[in-house]
Symmetry: C2
Subunit: 329 residues, 2 copies
């Protein structure tokens, strides 16, 4: 039997902080509230003070609809303090920085956090653009600093990457992995700080090969979309990449890797189709112009469809997590 998070660490009730109350910051704070933590939410820019309360109300309502709340919604709001005052972070054992991707601003935030929390409080950053090891240099106690890379919306996705910088002490990362399992996540531990973390690198490897096939005239973009969607989609919610190998019959993959690896694209160049996107000021469904074209209605349909799907896959995944937890590999 797999070691369950509850055997490791009862993390609920521990006070935690979030700095930066944009889309991701609020979504992370909501996750922590729903997991039972008292949360100190720091509005790092004054305008966030005005909007945060409404956003939390809306996100908690979504969590309620997902069946994630076991108490009345207001009980969670009572656990939330929205403030501009960093001093309120004092007894937090974890503070997650979610401000914009500017190194200077982040460094100033770390200074403010470190001036009030204990030297053993974990400080995490939601950055996906700046190396953890680089940010870490600016901390007084760098060993407790690490990356926390979430998917949007944080409260209804299972994904979380916990990334060590060069100076992160592994015990802090392992503690956070255990906590994250109590947050309904299936966290991945990255022992080294690599650019793009794990999931972006895996996906960009796919994009490189897919764009190479498109440029070679093998298949259209929408045919590439269908191939990946309906192959991977038929198994990914129940097994990972390497579990898939074992399920199919792992013995055949060595030979196939030997044959296919030398044929895959090794291109370093951004394909022309992507360059033209920038030239055309295309922003995808956000301005209805991207690799595909959209009407305003379609863009709205996508948002609604994705919201519906997120709910459904969240519950479907729940079921198969249990199946797999009963396996002991």
């Amino acid at each position: 039997m797999k070691k369950r998070p509850s055997d490791i660490k009862p993390a609920r009730k521990t006070k935690v902080g979030v700095v930066g109350l944009g889309l991701m910051g609020t979504s992370i704070a909501t996750t922590l509230l729903v997991s039972g933590h008292p949360v100190v939410a720091i509005a790092s820019i004054p305008s966030d003070l005005n909007t945060a309360s409404t956003i939390f109300q809306s996100q908690l309502t979504q969590c309620q609809q997902l069946g994630l709340l076991d108490k009345p919604l207001n009980d969670y709001l009572e656990n939330l303090l929205i403030t501009e005052n960093y001093a309120m972070l004092e007894d937090c054992r974890l503070v997650i920085e979610c401000v914009i991707e500017e190194e200077k601003i982040k460094i100033s935030v770390y200074n403010k956090i470190e001036s009030v929390v204990s030297s053993k409080a974990i400080i995490g950053t939601n950055t996906s653009a700046i190396p953890i090891s680089q940010l870490q240099q600016h901390l007084k106690h760098p060993g407790r600093f690490l990356g926390l890379h979430w998917a949007e919306p944080a409260f209804s996705t299972r994904f979380l990457e916990v990334t060590c910088g060069d100076k992160t002490e592994i015990e802090y990362a392992e503690k956070l992995v255990a906590w994250a399992e109590n947050w309904n996540k299936e966290p991945t531990l990255l022992r080294k700080d690599i650019r793009g973390f794990i999931t972006n690198r895996l996906m960009y490897a796919v994009y490189r090969e897919g764009l190479a096939q498109y440029e070679a005239g093998v298949a259209d973009l929408d045919d590439l979309d269908k191939a990946f969607r309906y192959d991977v989609g038929s198994w990914i919610s129940i097994m990972g990449l390497f579990e898939r190998m074992d399920y199919i019959g792992v013995e055949s993959f060595g030979e196939e890797l030997a044959q296919l690896l030398p044929m895959l694209s090794n291109s370093k160049a951004v394909p022309e189709v992507m360059e033209s996107i920038v030239d055309n000021n295309a922003r995808g469904i956000h301005n209805q112009k991207g690799l595909y074209n959209y009407s305003p209605e379609e863009a709205k349909n996508w948002d609604q469809a994705f919201a519906d799907f997120s709910r459904e896959i969240f519950h479907l995944t729940e079921k198969y997590i249990s199946d797999i937890e009963n396996n002991d590999h």
Copy 2:
């Protein structure tokens, strides 16, 4: 509005043939039966004559449980002829070869098929190991020959790759794509015959990068599994790779590609962990020894879980296919 398959070609009622009644051949024949085709199923080895009938009964029962049958099960069986006699293929407009991956045997099957069908009947192969262009050389009328790469089980997955060899006339491939949409598939058209087709190349690109991270000590296999599963799984059943770019905001991908492509693994070597699999005679869940270890019960759990999941994702996907068909991009 997207052109619907029914505007293009009413393919039902057309007689089709399948040669080779192993796991994949029967599963493909069942798909065709369920789609309304009369099917001539050729037992290419005598033992298949004994087993095929039971397999078809079982697969049609699974289709019934999936809600795919709109008539009594026996009506479909009445549309099925299991025989060793290739002459029964005479008026088939499509024949799909599903025999073992041996070129000599396949060539002998094509000779037998071509000696009875019209020169315009499409002949498809389910091969994933032998290039379409290479097999095609052995046909009298190579223009109507193409690859048809299915996922297992064919009747409850959406995935299908239609692959042109060097001599395939594109009209035949386009006709088959239109037919396949009537079979409840979301087919991908490959204009060129590339090794591994589209989906295997995309997946091997992921495996190359994932194994590189494992070998570099960044993350364990099960953490790589979680990262891919819970990231990709949170969106893949509703959007493809490039739709994903548009959904996230395609303008950011060019810069990110420029940064990440030069860092991705270009390795041609099979990683040591895969070599050791072969040395250890590991076959995954089939002998409970693979990249992970399994008990016999766990192996059985996996099969049941995958069967359950296949049903659920089939219906979930149905819903989001409709959402997307209402979009016109």
